[in-house]
């Protein structure tokens, strides 16, 4: 078969906020063919049917039985990552799993060994790695544009899971698993910090030491504020600051090197960028944002039989850093 005509048959498991974005992106991608979707919500499945998806499942295990499906995108609550990913690996499907890899390191190790055992590709959904500005920054750091980077700072502050959500004009409540420590595994650090830690690890390599502080302004069992200082083995001191406490959304990366400094504000987007993106979408010229690029890259890796990155191993390293941060924060709390 001619390479140009090859397509990857995809199944999407979980049609929450992220899952819907993945579905939309896949539908715009000529190399991807969405064969089926699975979700417990009837409304979500109806929405997929309206978008032309013929096979819809209320149980993802039924979707995994479909031999025509090559790979799955898993966008489920954290507590279902291990079970669903292991089942998908057993079914021989390549997997794009939304971050974080799992709720904790031991669960992450189970996922990884299962992917290895069944020989399937596993990629983690860290879309920041596909943001053009952050990719350029990676190349500039590697090429020595900043000299030697001594200090870096990454920030992601928003309402996190408490950002108002809705279906059309109908507001929706925050899913209950976000309030359950057992099900979510961690707070703002696991949710938002995992993105930043993965990014900084990509830029600077291996973390050799860590100090962390957590805040609990909303009286939950998980942190809603976290600040970590990471010491990189062959690199800078970097801080990661995250929070679920703000009505506003702010995301930035700053690097300071011996030759140059840079501050990159990623959010909120400029009015010009929002308008231009909306006009392009309205005209049918789909906006190739970082989440689109992420899936395109995953599909390309499958078509070319290459190992995708961020890999499961990277996801596990991120979890190890986060687990260490939780440990050090609880130790510092007792001082």
């Amino acid at each position: 078969m001619d390479d140009d005509l090859r397509k990857i048959n995809i199944g999407i498991i979980g049609l929450g906020n992220q899952g819907k974005i993945h579905l939309n992106n896949c539908l715009y991608m000529k190399e991807a063919n969405v064969l089926g979707v699975a979700d417990v919500s009837r409304n979500a499945l109806k929405l997929a049917e309206k978008r032309g998806i013929k096979k819809t499942y209320s149980n993802y295990k039924e979707l995994l039985k479909d031999k025509q499906i090559d790979s799955v995108i898993i966008s489920l609550p954290n507590y279902l990552h291990a079970e669903a990913t292991i089942k998908a690996a057993e079914a021989g499907k390549d997997i794009l799993l939304e971050k974080p890899l799992a709720r904790n390191v031991s669960e992450g190790e189970l996922i990884l060994s299962s992917a290895q055992k069944y020989g399937v590709k596993l990629m983690l959904g860290y879309e920041m790695k596909f943001n053009k500005s952050l990719m350029t920054l990676h190349d500039e750091i590697a090429e020595g544009y900043f000299g030697e980077v001594q200090v870096a700072d990454a920030v992601n502050v928003s309402s996190g899971p408490f950002s108002p959500r809705g279906e059309g004009t109908r507001p929706l409540s925050v899913p209950s698993w976000w309030f359950d420590k057992e099900k979510v595994g961690g707070g703002a650090l696991l949710d938002l910090g995992s993105h930043l830690i993965n990014l900084l690890n990509w830029y600077f390599g291996e973390v050799s030491d860590i100090k962390a502080f957590m805040g609990f302004m909303y009286n939950m069992d998980v942190e809603d504020i976290a600040t970590c200082v990471l010491k990189y083995k062959n690199g800078p001191l970097a801080s990661v600051r995250v929070g679920w406490f703000s009505k506003g959304f702010f995301q930035s990366v700053q690097v300071s090197g011996t030759a140059k400094n840079m501050f990159l504000s990623l959010a909120p987007s400029s009015i010009f960028r929002i308008i231009s993106s909306d006009i392009r979408t309205k005209l049918g010229w789909y906006d190739h944002n970082s989440m689109y690029s992420e899936i395109k890259y995953f599909v390309d890796c499958l078509l070319n039989d290459e190992s995708p990155s961020p890999s499961g191993e990277e996801g596990l390293r991120d979890l190890q850093v986060i687990e260490l941060a939780y440990e050090t924060a609880s130790r510092l709390d007792k001082i």
């Binding site: 408490f162 109908r170 507001p171 925050v174 009286n219 939950m220 406490f245 009505k247 309205k282």
Partner: protein, 290 residues
């Protein structure tokens, strides 16, 4: 004309809040000698926002009110009430905003109105039928205290005392009422009569969030909201639910301000004509693109 008082809170300490609240109640001649046993306090808990955003009532402010009632009335039974909404669930909001902790400290009750017995009332608005659930607990109370925030709100222009009572409807799917929100607000206020409004104006949501350190009190929710609109630079007659509430006998739109009204009127972060144009442009834009 109904009295509406405006008092400055000197600092963020609870004692200062109590002092300012007592002064604001004295200015409207609130009678503490009445025989009051059951008190219901309805704060604004519209979503999981922090009180410093100006969106929700500060639990510390509510705690100060509870202290005053416990000191002035003879062994009152006080409950803080709120109902689930489409996006906000009391179970989580009570704990996240710190009400769980407060009730433990001061020995009062927290009530999710959706779990209380209610009476269904059908309302006909422009040919459409709406059912609202009025919790029976309101009929069994001696004093209903409305503790709203003061903020601009799309669709109804302002949110203060009258809008806060919209949250007492025990139907959690409140989004269905948004099409006729002004009329629904008036109807709920006709069925649940606020006896006392104590507005938490510590942080306000105006053109931007601002620490105003204000307490505003009134025995009349319509007068209270009319005064709030003036503070926000709006003519109360242009706010549909205030004008309609006045017409329907919920209260009196004419008010007599007492205390530091003129100070706060200059300090409130008002929206101007430019903001309205910007808002209109944004609304047209979202209709075209979303």
């Amino acid at each position: 004309m109904s009295l509406v008082s405006f008092v400055l809170v000197n600092n963020q300490e609870k004692d200062s809040m109590k002092e300012a609240i007592v002064r604001s109640l004295d200015l409207i001649n609130f009678d503490f000698t009445r025989n009051i046993h059951r008190i219901l306090i309805k704060p604004n808990m519209c979503y999981y926002y922090h009180p410093s955003t100006g969106e929700v009532t500060d639990p510390q402010f509510v705690s100060a009110i509870v202290d005053i009632f416990q000191e002035r009335f003879n062994d009152p039974e006080i409950s803080i009430v709120e109902a689930d909404a489409s996006a906000m669930k009391c179970k989580y909001a009570f704990s996240m905003l710190g009400y769980d902790r407060i009730v433990k400290e001061i020995g009062i009750k927290l009530i999710n109105l959706c779990k209380e017995e209610s009476t269904e009332i059908s309302i006909n608005i422009k040919g459409s039928k709406f059912d609202i659930l009025i919790p029976n607990i309101f009929n069994k109370s001696d004093l209903i205290v409305n503790v709203p925030k003061i903020k601009y709100m799309d669709g109804v222009k302002i949110s203060c005392a009258l809008k806060n009572m919209f949250g007492c409807n025990a139907n959690p799917g409140k989004y269905i009422y948004h099409k006729e929100l002004n009329d629904i607000i008036v109807n709920i206020n006709k069925h649940i009569k606020t006896n006392l409004v104590i507005t938490d104006g510590l942080m306000v949501c105006g053109k931007y969030t601002k620490r105003l350190n204000m307490v505003m009190s009134s025995k009349d929710p319509v007068a209270n909201d009319a005064a709030a609109s003036r503070l926000m630079g709006l003519n109360p007659r242009s706010v549909k639910h205030i004008a309609s509430a006045s017409k329907n006998g919920v209260g009196n739109m004419e008010f007599n301000p007492v205390g530091d009204f003129n100070d706060f009127i200059t300090k409130f972060p008002k929206r101007g004509a430019r903001d309205d144009i910007r808002k209109l442009a944004a609304s047209l834009y979202s209709r075209i693109f979303y």
